[in-house]
Amino acid sequence: MIIPGQMLLYIFLAGVLMTIVWRFAGLALSSGLEEDSPLFRWVGFVSTALVAGLISRLVIFAPGVLADIDIVVRLIAFASGIVIFLLAKRHLGIGVLGGVATLLALGFISG
């Protein structure tokens, strides 16, 4: 990536186009499709599994400075985020905050 515009073109082709194509396909198809069809369920599952795979990879093979935090700390903080989320009756904000706070506390102690 040498020319600055090249990165924007990459982003446009691989990112923007590949995302909006589904939204506009949904717009075009919206009058004739059943939302509960097996095809939609399969599509939803594929997309969910993909993002779940991304999640565990981001924790285990962490990007940037997150890789400098011990993997055990990352895993404990992640698990505690889930537990706090469930204890807080599935409150997204409290869960994320709890996990991040655990990471900071453990990272501070061990680092």
């Binding site: 924007l8 990459y10 446009f12 082709l13 691989a14 990112g15 923007v16 186009l17 590949m18 909006i20 589904w22 939204r23 506009f24 396909a25 949904g26 717009l27 198809l29 919206s30 499709l33 939302e35 097996p38 369920r41 399969w42 599509v43 939803g44 599952f45 594929v46 997309s47 969910t48 599994a49 993909l50 993002v51 779940a52 795979g53 991304l54 999640i55 565990s56 990879r57 981001l58 924790v59 093979f61 990007p63 940037g64 997150l66 400098d68 935090i69 903080a77 992640f78 889930i82 599935r90 997204l92 869960g95 994320v96 996990g99 991040v100 990471l103 900071l104 990272g107 501070f108 680092g111």
Partner: protein, 253 residues
């Protein structure tokens, strides 16, 4: 006309009377907690683009024009690994395909035959989880001919606060101590997982999540180039078969 309408809305209190005031009402009524959580998640995204070596312009461009966080993170992940445009495009497309059914479901709610097409198009463009949840919850209480303007207000507000979040994350990541910058990056996977778990109440809907979590790192080691797409296809299809098997054994209620 617009001004007097806006004034009337204030007087009557409840229902917006013009598209213009419906738009502003959409902005004002977007729930603050989901908006704060979403923009905080975008702070994590900004930290990620900064750590990957993208520019602030790239970060804003992605946030404003993609506005689908999982796809955005997949894209930046692929860029970070030096993937070709085609590889990245396949991974992003496989991530974004879930937007199709979401758009299909939301359009009948906001569609009006006589209304301006561009508003409907604009709302469809910004369909994403938070927009979807907020719109589906609130739009039914708005008169039909004002719904697309109202939902467009929700979209504009969420895109704005999210992009601001991404900018803040981008600028903070290089200035914060390493531990705090790491915490910003850590928010993204946790936010995604908890976001998925919110609506998960059965073994059937948990299956693709668990399979994806397990298969992701395995495919990453086996086939680093196409690991995400293969994880999605293998995990999603296996979960689909398991779900159908479980449901065929149980009589439908």
């Amino acid at each position: 006309m617009e001004a007097s309408n806006a004034g009337q809305t204030e007087d009557c209190g409840n229902m917006p009377v013009s598209r213009y005031s419906a738009f502003w009402r959409g902005i004002r009524e977007t729930s603050p907690v989901p908006a704060i959580i979403l923009s905080t998640a975008f702070v994590g995204f900004g930290a990620l683009t900064s750590q990957t070596g993208l520019s602030l312009l790239d970060t804003i461009f992605i946030s404003v024009f993609m506005f689908a966080l999982p796809g955005q993170v997949v894209l930046v992940d692929e860029i970070g690994r030096g993937a070709s445009v085609l590889t990245a495009a396949i991974a992003v497309a496989a991530t974004g395909v879930r937007l199709l059914p979401m758009t299909v479901v939301i359009l009948p709610v906001i569609r009006e035959r006589a209304g301006p097409k561009w508003l409907e198009l604009a709302v469809a463009y910004y369909v994403a989880v938070t927009v979807w949840v907020e719109s589906m919850r609130r739009a039914p209480h708005i008169p039909r001919h004002l719904r697309s303007a109202y939902c467009f207000g929700i979209c504009v507000f969420l895109v704005l606060v999210s992009s601001l979040g991404a900018i803040v994350g981008f600028l903070l990541a290089s200035k914060l101590p390493a531990l705090l910058a790491a915490a910003l990056l850590f928010m993204t996977p946790l936010y995604f997982l908890l976001g998925m778990l919110i609506s998960t109440r059965s073994v059937v809907s948990l299956a693709p999540i668990l399979l994806g979590l397990v298969l992701g790192p395995i495919f990453h080691l086996l086939t680093p180039d196409l690991d995400l797409v293969l994880t999605g296809l293998a995990g999603g299809t296996a979960a689909f078969l398991i779900a159908n098997y479980l449901e065929s054994r149980r009589p439908r209620s």
